[in-house]
């Protein structure tokens, strides 16, 4: 079954380029130029994924995210010309699933779309394999080149959280709340230290990580495709 993608952007050239590119990849594409039209289209056509521009003529895209999330769980990828990380973090905190900064290459967007359209992982999901690292969240075992790697409890909590949504960016606050608790959402230093420890144990070259990658100013993602 082909996935249906809704493109919400007021710039016609952007919509055209996305429509051509995504159709060529076999997706079914529909378009909306305003937030209002987007909400109507989401209600009627039930797209499988929304690509949403933050700068819309009839209001801030951030508001549109909130309106969508009141009733829908459809994955949202935010497009923004603003290189401002605060906007990205706000969009993610409001419920967007990922972001791409304009200008962007189609390869970057395609990778994000593929990751979001992948079937959601359940509790009994198969182990995540990246390179020679295998993360088995069911058996709580992580191996590298077949050898088991010993992790502390927090290291494991952190890795399991990232592996639960591979290729999705998780914001610092989200990770800190899930692993350390609501009292520690601003203790970014904890996160830096534990990410560093995980990289030392899992990465081939910890100074040039390929597994746990940093989204500067935003968060981290566990990367499965290179």
């Amino acid at each position: 079954m082909t996935s249906h993608i809704l493109i919400v952007d007021d710039e016609e050239p952007i919509r055209r380029f996305l429509r051509i590119s995504l159709s060529a990849q076999g997706y079914r594409v529909s378009e909306a130029a305003t937030g209002k039209a987007a909400l109507a289209a989401i209600g009627n056509a039930r797209p499988d994924l929304v690509v949403l521009d933050l700068g819309l003529p009839d209001g801030d895209g951030q508001e549109v995210i909130g309106a969508i999330r009141q009733s829908q769980v459809v994955p949202i990828i935010v497009l923004s010309v603003r290189a401002d990380e605060m906007d990205k973090v706000e969009a993610l905190d409001r419920g967007a699933n990922d972001y791409v900064t304009k200008p962007f290459g189609i390869a970057e967007l395609m990778a994000r779309i593929r990751a979001l359209l992948r079937p959601r992982r359940g509790c009994d999901a198969a182990p995540v394999a990246v390179g020679d690292v295998v993360i088995d969240t069911v058996r709580t075992v992580v191996t590298r080149a077949g050898r088991e790697i010993r992790l502390s409890r927090r290291e494991w909590d952190l890795l399991r959280l990232l592996a639960g949504q591979p290729d999705h960016v998780l914001t610092h606050k989200h990770i800190l709340r899930a692993v350390w608790g609501p009292a520690h959402v601003d203790d970014t230093a904890y996160l830096r230290v534990y990410v560093n420890q995980l990289r030392q144990k899992l990465e081939e070259d910890p100074s040039a990580p390929r597994l746990i990658v940093t989204d500067p100013g935003v968060g981290y993602r566990l990367k499965t495709d290179s």
């Binding site: 290189a83 990380e85 605060m86 200008p103 290459g105 010993r150 992790l151 502390s152 409890r153 927090r154 610092h172 203790d187 970014t188 230093a189 904890y190 830096r192 230290v193 534990y194 990410v195 560093n196 030392q200 100074s207 040039a208 990580p209 940093t214 500067p216 100013g217």
Partner: protein, 511 residues
């Protein structure tokens, strides 16, 4: 000399010379008895009295001297001339003695008085010169207008032991620019006097014939170029010396104030020239650096759309890749312009959080390799984590700009090294290249906007903004970035130093 001592006068105390005026003739009388007892001629006694009169004239001035000469004559007449112990004058010679005493008293006291006046005048002169000298050294030590004004009002107030004001021309008339004690209001009459003094270039106010109703006396301050402002003083006793000194001070103050305004207009002209230069450089950069990629993009895109059928797949891919690459270049340039504008507007406030310097370095490296695959980068990081309190996104941009710069100025295939470490409480990041290096005299100028080593046609393509942005970002973090010679071989090294505080402790846990 302290200005406080300046107006000390030798006060006239009329009774101060009474003891001497009495004692000197008395001593002469005693001496006279001794001379008489010795049987010497009486003329010697009159000389003793003459000595007494001269002594009083020297120290006491005219009137004590006349008093002394009269008392000396009476004593001489009473005790020593015949008939003794009477005041009868029997001899014309004795009358002559009185006249001699009086003449000697007047001449000597006059001489002494004139001498003393001359001494006083030259001492006064020395005080005035000292006062002016002290003022001019204070004024010339002051850098800005405010400092000079402060020096003027403090000095004048101390000199006259009263109050002082400087009024400078403002939008409509005059405004108080400084005062000691500080004040910004004046009564109506004083304002009128000040305005009159400013318009007419003459003294006005208290103690003068013009608008004398207020406490304040106003002196115009002017130089060869014209009026500078008005000096106001409030002084209890206006003496001729004070007025002369105030005139001299007003002239000096005028010169000092004018000097600062001249200096600031020179500085303003320099800034205007600098702005013009930057604007011209920005325009030339915009027209060149925006148009070049646009020309490639437009050319390649139009080739794709018009020659579609005539192009083979390989050519189409090549044109599309050219469009992509040039668009990315354009994007970097626009990003640089945006960053620069934000820096210039003071809008670039780092959003600091704890970040891993190794992570930042790796991200900068990845971004650099995406645009410049021909310079391998060696990361040089210690195994322990390098937590720093920085804006990770901005610092990554600063590092990227340093790498970009290194790539542009070093031959393809040569290594660029990117290292980071802690030096005590300072985070240090260094970028070394194997390029041509930077002459020592240009190592500071390379951070200027639009500065490029090797101007002219042969210069390396670039916006001339990267290093200026890098410096702006590092400065916004309270740090410093410097260009140095490479530690080994040719090339250069850029070093970022960021002061840090202690990283927070992260609680340990059992495994």
């Amino acid at each position: 000399m302290s200005p406080d001592r300046f107006l000390w006068r030798m006060e006239v105390k009329p009774l101060a010379h009474v003891p001497l005026t009495v004692a000197a003739p008395a001593a002469a009388t005693l001496l006279g008895f001794a001379i008489d007892r010795a049987g010497l001629p009486i003329a010697n006694i009159s000389v003793a009295y003459l000595m007494a009169v001269l002594l009083v004239a020297r120290h006491g001035g005219r009137w004590p001297a006349i008093a002394a000469s009269l008392s000396s004559f009476i004593a001489f007449n009473f005790f020593f001339t015949e008939p003794r112990y009477t005041l009868a004058i029997s001899d014309a010679q004795n009358i002559l003695t009185v006249v001699f005493f009086l003449v000697a008293a007047v001449i000597v006291s006059n001489l002494t008085a004139r001498l003393r006046q001359e001494m006083e005048a030259s001492r006064e002169n020395a005080r005035r010169i000292g006062n002016l000298y002290e003022f001019s050294s204070r004024a010339s030590a002051s850098a800005g207008l405010d400092d000079v004004l402060r020096a003027v009002v403090d000095h004048v107030a101390a000199t006259v032991r009263g109050g002082s004001l400087v009024l400078l021309p403002a939008d409509n008339g005059l405004a108080v620019a400084a005062g000691c004690p500080s004040r910004d209001r004046l009564d109506e009459v004083s304002w009128s006097a000040a305005s009159w003094a400013w318009r007419q270039g003459k003294r006005a106010g208290g103690g003068t014939g013009i608008l004398p109703g207020g406490d304040w006396l106003f002196l115009p301050m002017h130089t060869d170029r014209g009026g500078v402002g008005v000096l106001g003083v409030r002084v209890e006793h206006q003496t001729a010396e004070t007025m002369a000194l105030l005139d001299a001070l007003a002239d000096q103050a005028a010169v000092a104030i004018e000097r600062t305004t001249l200096a600031s207009s020179v500085e303003e002209a320099r800034l205007t020239a600098e702005r013009e230069r930057l604007r011209a450089a920005l325009l030339s950069s915009l027209s060149h650096d925006l148009r070049t990629p646009l020309a490639s993009i437009l050319g390649a895109a139009s080739a794709l759309s018009t020659l579609d059928g005539a192009l083979d797949a390989g050519s189409r891919r090549e044109l599309a890749a050219a469009i992509e690459g040039e668009a990315l270049r354009l994007n970097r340039f626009v990003q640089n312009l945006l960053d620069m504008t934000r820096l210039g507007a003071g809008a670039l406030v780092p959003r600091r959080d704890w970040a891993d310097l190794g992570d930042i370095a790796d991200n900068a490296r990845r971004r650099f390799l995406a645009i410049d695959p021909v310079h391998p980068i060696r990361l040089d990081l210690p195994p322990q984590r390098l937590l720093a309190w920085v804006d990770a996104v901005l610092l990554e941009q600063a590092l990227f700009n340093l790498l970009d710069n290194a790539g542009k100025y070093s031959p393809a295939g040569t290594e660029v090294r990117l290292g980071a470490w802690m030096d005590g409480e300072t985070a240090v990041i260094a970028v070394d290249d194997c390029g041509c290096g930077i002459p020592p005299d240009q190592r500071d100028a390379v951070f200027d906007m639009f500065h490029r080593v090797g101007q002219g046609d042969g210069r390396t393509a670039g916006t001339g903004l990267g290093l200026a942005i890098c410096r702006g970002i590092v400065a916004a973090h309270g740090g410093a970035v410097t260009a140095q010679g490479a530690p080994e071989g040719t090339g250069c090294r850029f070093v970022i130093r960021l002061p840090q505080s202690q990283a927070p402790a992260v609680p340990a846990e059992g495994t």
